[in-house]
């Protein structure tokens, strides 16, 4: 390797590490502060990071605040929404991809149109609709509109289209109905796609803010993203407890990310391709 190439390698590595440090610093700072004693005075950069450390903030917030309740609500909402999104959109995508019927093309176009509708621009009529159904301040009110998002249909239909017809035909000859071929052939063959969009859906629902913020009004029903600002805004001088709350809200999703990074990245790539 010549001198020039080595030089370029060194500065690119240095730059890569520098950016990695910048990307991590806010997260490290958050965790460092969450480990400090309440009431610590911060008078310089080193004062955030040096010991003494304590876990008492975590214990205090786990048992003495609503944060664990919000966490359970978030888990519940994210799991239920992800599950039904996958089941319902997979069923619809299967019908569009595999069953021949008259309105197939029309239905697919109708769902594609949905991709052009940004939910942020329809929140007011959507809110009135939810209100009519008496679903304001209920989990149903935040879950049902999220399931209706058409992105997964498009991704799954494209994926189902790529499954060889022979596989399904041979199963159909054995007297296998549409439901069996959906459940026992197409879904198992789509494991990678399904797991990718499941993780992608889970992470987006877990972090969803605007809609739950509008729909939920009682603190006991808040999800984490809605509850955290309410909790944090009551502390302006103290950093320690808000940072503990932020850390408690972030650590589970960071762990999920580290475990399922591959699927999440795949989910994002699949969702990007539709554009």
């Amino acid at each position: 390797m010549n001198k020039e190439a080595i030089g370029s390698k060194i500065w690119k590595t240095a730059l890569s590490f520098l950016i990695a440090i910048l990307a991590l610093i806010p997260i490290v700072w958050m965790i460092a502060l969450s480990l400090k004693h309440q009431g610590t005075a911060f008078n310089g950069v080193s004062s955030y990071f040096i010991p003494p450390y304590t876990f008492e903030n975590y214990i205090k917030l786990t048992f003495g605040s609503k944060i664990m309740m919000w966490m359970l609500n978030s888990v519940f909402v994210a799991v239920i929404t992800t599950f039904f999104t996958i089941v319902f959109t997979a069923m619809a995508a299967f019908a569009l991809s595999r069953i021949r019927f008259r309105l197939s093309k029309f239905m697919y176009t109708l769902f594609i149109i949905g991709l052009l509708i940004p939910t942020e621009a329809t929140i007011i009529p959507l809110y009135i609709t939810i209100n009519k159904f008496d679903m304001v301040d209920t989990f149903a009110g935040i879950i049902l509109p999220c399931i209706a998002s058409p992105l997964c249909i498009v991704i799954l239909k494209n994926f189902f289209d790529s499954i060889p017809q022979d596989l399904i035909d041979s199963a159909s000859l054995d007297g296998c109905g549409w439901f069996r071929s959906f459940w026992s052939i197409v879904l198992p063959l789509s494991k990678t796609a399904v797991s990718a969009i499941s993780i992608f859906t889970f992470v987006s629902i877990w972090n969803n803010y605007l809609w739950p913020f509008l729909v939920l009004t009682t603190e006991e029903k808040f999800t984490l993203p809605v509850g955290i600002p309410v909790f944090n805004s009551s502390y302006s001088a103290d950093y320690v407890l808000p940072m503990t709350a932020n850390a408690i809200a972030s650590i589970p999703i960071i762990i999920v990310f580290l475990i399922f990074e591959k699927q999440l990245v795949k989910g994002i790539t699949m969702s990007g391709i539709k554009g």
Partner: protein, 293 residues
């Protein structure tokens, strides 16, 4: 029963659960929103039919134009920056090194945090006297004490900066995927021709990932138009209304001033802007794709 009829029924059964939700929660609000926008409407329901009054008022409402202007400003400034930065990060973490995985994981990690956590990190980091940014500036010998969130320009910089930190990994991941799809032979051929690394980036990488750039551009513009939570939590739209985006103004009109009719009108305006933008993009990219064939 004929097979085609049976298939029709099966298809209906498969489509029904999703189809109902889609019709009620995605399609209906679009139609219904147009209806509501023609009324004076509060939380209890419709009050009066007012025709196009809400639309007329919108065009003369200074606060509407201010908020819309803020959102446009955010879109115009952030879209190119976030795309270029994502591209550079993708180049950096797509190099053949043992840290490849590490770089990608770390650059992407902020994206999985909730917007609430991200916003409050910004609030505390940019706090005067005791925040991370100002103490770091002091350590580096800067003597001033910037009050980040009290100055409109600085507040916008904070919002744009923290949003970049939070979301740039998403675009980067799309770019990395596109770069990995470029056949190695193209780089080998370029290297035989004696092309430098920089030259290869410009004449192989950038042209090959052009379709991805188009996708990222569209997604980024739409994402930037949806700006709401970060200014809402970091500055509450302030100082004054200097950082209030259109979605926050819509939210306040509906839920603080109890004027859902006018809020619907403004939602519709936003919807039309996004729709026109998406359609122009589709037409242009479709025409280009055909021209390239």
């Amino acid at each position: 029963m004929k097979k085609s009829a049976r298939d029709g029924i099966s298809a209906a059964v498969f489509l029904l659960p999703y189809g109902i939700l889609y019709a009620v929660f995605i399609l209906w609000p679009v139609v219904f929103g147009a209806y509501v926008s023609l009324y004076k409407w509060n939380m209890m329901g419709a009050e009066d039919f007012v025709g196009f009054t809400n639309y007329v008022n919108m065009f003369t409402d200074g606060s509407f134009w201010e908020a819309m202007g803020h959102t446009f400003l955010f879109v115009v400034i952030t879209t190119p920056i976030y795309i270029v930065f994502a591209f550079l990060l993708a180049l950096l973490c797509n190099r053949e090194t043992i840290f490849k995985r590490f770089y990608r994981t770390v650059y992407f990690m902020p994206y999985v945090l909730s917007v609430s956590v991200v916003s409050y990190l910004a609030v505390f980091m940019f706090q005067p006297y005791t925040g991370l940014i100002n103490t770091t500036l002091h350590m580096l010998g800067v003597s001033g004490e910037p009050f980040w969130l009290a100055n409109p320009t600085l507040a916008w910089i904070v919002i744009m900066f923290i949003t970049m930190w939070w979301t740039v990994g998403f675009n980067m991941v799309l770019y990395v995927a596109a770069m990995q799809d470029i056949p190695d032979e193209l780089y080998e051929a370029a290297s035989i021709d004696g092309a430098s690394r920089a030259r290869m980036t410009f004449s192989v990488t950038i042209p090959m990932i052009k379709p991805t750039t188009g996708v990222i551009f569209l997604l980024q513009v739409i994402a930037s138009f949806k700006l709401f939570a970060q200014p809402y939590m970091i500055t509450s739209g302030g100082p004054g209304t200097a950082t209030r985006p259109i979605i926050q103004y819509i939210y306040e009109t509906a839920f603080k001033k109890n004027n859902l009719g006018y809020a619907s009108t403004m939602s519709y305006a936003l919807f039309i802007v996004l729709l026109i933008f998406t359609l122009i993009y589709q037409v242009l990219s479709g025409r280009k794709a055909r021209a390239e064939k």
